[in-house]
Amino acid sequence: MKREVKGMVGGLGVTLKTMLRPAVTVQYPHEREDPAPRARGVIALKEENCTVCMLCARSCPDWCIYIEGHKEQRPPRREGGRPRSVSLLDRFDIDYALCMYCGICVEVCPFDALFWSPEYEYSEHHIADLLHDKEKLGEWMATVPEPEPLELGAEKAKK
């Protein structure tokens, strides 16, 4: 009987104690908690680094990256060298309605053209608007954080 009474009263104590403590809620539109710097919010594109190699589009498990490009002649880097041909982006779309946020494209990119940004406020009224083109993806570059320092005992980054 004593245990029962203790159980009944103990529960009331827990709720009362919680009531007297400040709430944990964050009033979202007025105040916001920043996600972790590593959070996979949205993918940013650094257009000048892209060589249209299609690696990201190919390794995407959801087939949600669409790339088109064209080639152009550029003056040689060194005097007397051969003119270079570079591939330029015409189209780079990511369909966030399909994207699973796995990050494989960011990882496979050999030229550091894709980055994760923790930004998350890009919901839309129409599902078609979730297709971000290269201008929009380029805008996210401003929100990409610097890489964090690592915990003790980690190997130094090779780059």
């Binding site: 009944m8 009362l16 919680t18 009531m19 709430a23 809620t25 009033q27």
Partner: protein, 343 residues
């Protein structure tokens, strides 16, 4: 109040005013309890804030807005429902709430009806709501609603008895069934010759108060006795098919009844509107405020348990009522009677 204004008001006008007051009080009480406890206290007990934006100050406007929204909603009736019974059910539930309010006094002269059998009347009309609930459960043509309705009927019948028996001790001690006279008794009686706070009957009727609160919780179908609505089992029980203003009626009925029962408990056990030493017009002004404070306190206890405890099973609830509450209540009456004769 009539002498205060020095006006001669006819009985018809008085009746009109009284009706309006009751009609306004019930939704008002439901709103106040709903906002204070359901929206705010529960939120804070769960480490959240609850609505903050509507109305500016801590979301006070939220429930009013909800009410308006309910009124605008489409009136949906299930195809196979018993239409007239379905429509009538919420009205009966709310009606029983209105009728309880009639007898609760808020001051020596602030009362709608001064019945000599006030206690008896209040408990009788409060159980009218079970008819409405049963009608709602049956007429909805929904299995969940039917289960909810039947559970409610079984439960309300089982808990009517301890509720009445819990009050008998008070009636025996006060020697009257008139609610106003019970309050006056509590004001005038003294604790061993000291009348500082009068004599709230909770001091001697503590067991009665506890039983009353438990039975009230069951009457109001609140956790730990909310099997008829049982969110996680029956979804919302007898209310599952209701929407719009009919649902609003149930909501007002639920919280209005909570307000009424808190008022009853405050009147019967905590001394009601009485403030010792204050009489006449001053008591009429102070009475409602004091009563309101006590109502809020009782409601706090009620909702505190509601937000803390899990729910019992229907058979366990019946076992609790018949094996524990009723025998304890009977012993309590016996003891009260013996002591009353002895002193």
């Amino acid at each position: 109040m009539t002498d205060l204004l020095a006006l001669d008001i006819g009985w018809g006008t008085t009746l009109g005013i009284k009706t309006l007051v009751v009609l306004g009080l019930v939704p008002m009480g439901a709103l106040i309890l709903g906002y204070t406890f359901l929206l705010k206290m529960m939120s804070h007990m769960q480490s959240r804030l609850g609505p903050m934006d509507p109305g500016g100050f801590h979301g006070w406007y939220q429930l009013v807005g909800d009410g308006i929204k309910f009124l605008q909603k489409e009136d949906i009736m299930p195809e196979r429902a018993d239409r007239r019974v379905f429509a009538l059910a919420p009205a009966i539930v709310v009606l029983s709430t209105f009728l309880v309010f009639v007898v609760i006094p808020a001051g020596p002269r602030i009362k709608v009806a001064d019945l000599d059998v006030g206690v008896f009347y209040a408990l009788a009309v409060s159980s009218l709501s079970v008819i409405g609930v049963l009608m709602a459960g049956w007429a909805s043509a929904n299995k969940y609603a039917l289960l909810g309705g039947l559970r409610a009927a079984a439960q309300l019948i089982a808990y009517e008895l301890p509720l009445v028996l819990a009050v008998v001790g008070v009636v025996v001690q006060a020697g009257t069934m008139n609610l106003n006279e019970i309050v006056v008794f509590q004001r005038d009686a003294e604790i061993f010759g000291w009348g500082g706070i009068g004599f709230p009957l909770i001091l001697t009727q503590f067991i009665g108060f506890a039983l009353f609160m438990v039975a009230t919780q069951a009457e109001l179908t609140q956790p730990p006795f909310d099997m008829p609505v049982a969110e996680s089992e029956l979804v919302a029980g007898y209310m599952v098919e209701y929407t719009g203003f009919r649902f609003l009626f149930f909501f007002i009925g639920e919280f209005g009844t909570a307000f009424a029962f808190s008022g009853l408990a405050a009147t019967l056990f905590l001394g009601g509107w009485a403030v010792p030493g204050v009489e006449g017009t001053a008591a009429d002004v102070l009475g409602p405020i004091v009563l309101f404070a006590k109502v809020m306190f009782v409601a706090f206890l009620m909702f505190w348990a509601r937000f803390t405890y899990p729910r019992l099973r229907e058979d366990q609830l019946q076992a609790l009522a018949w094996k524990w509450l009723i025998p304890i209540a009977l012993v309590n009456i016996l003891a009260t009677g013996v002591l009353k004769v002895a002193f």
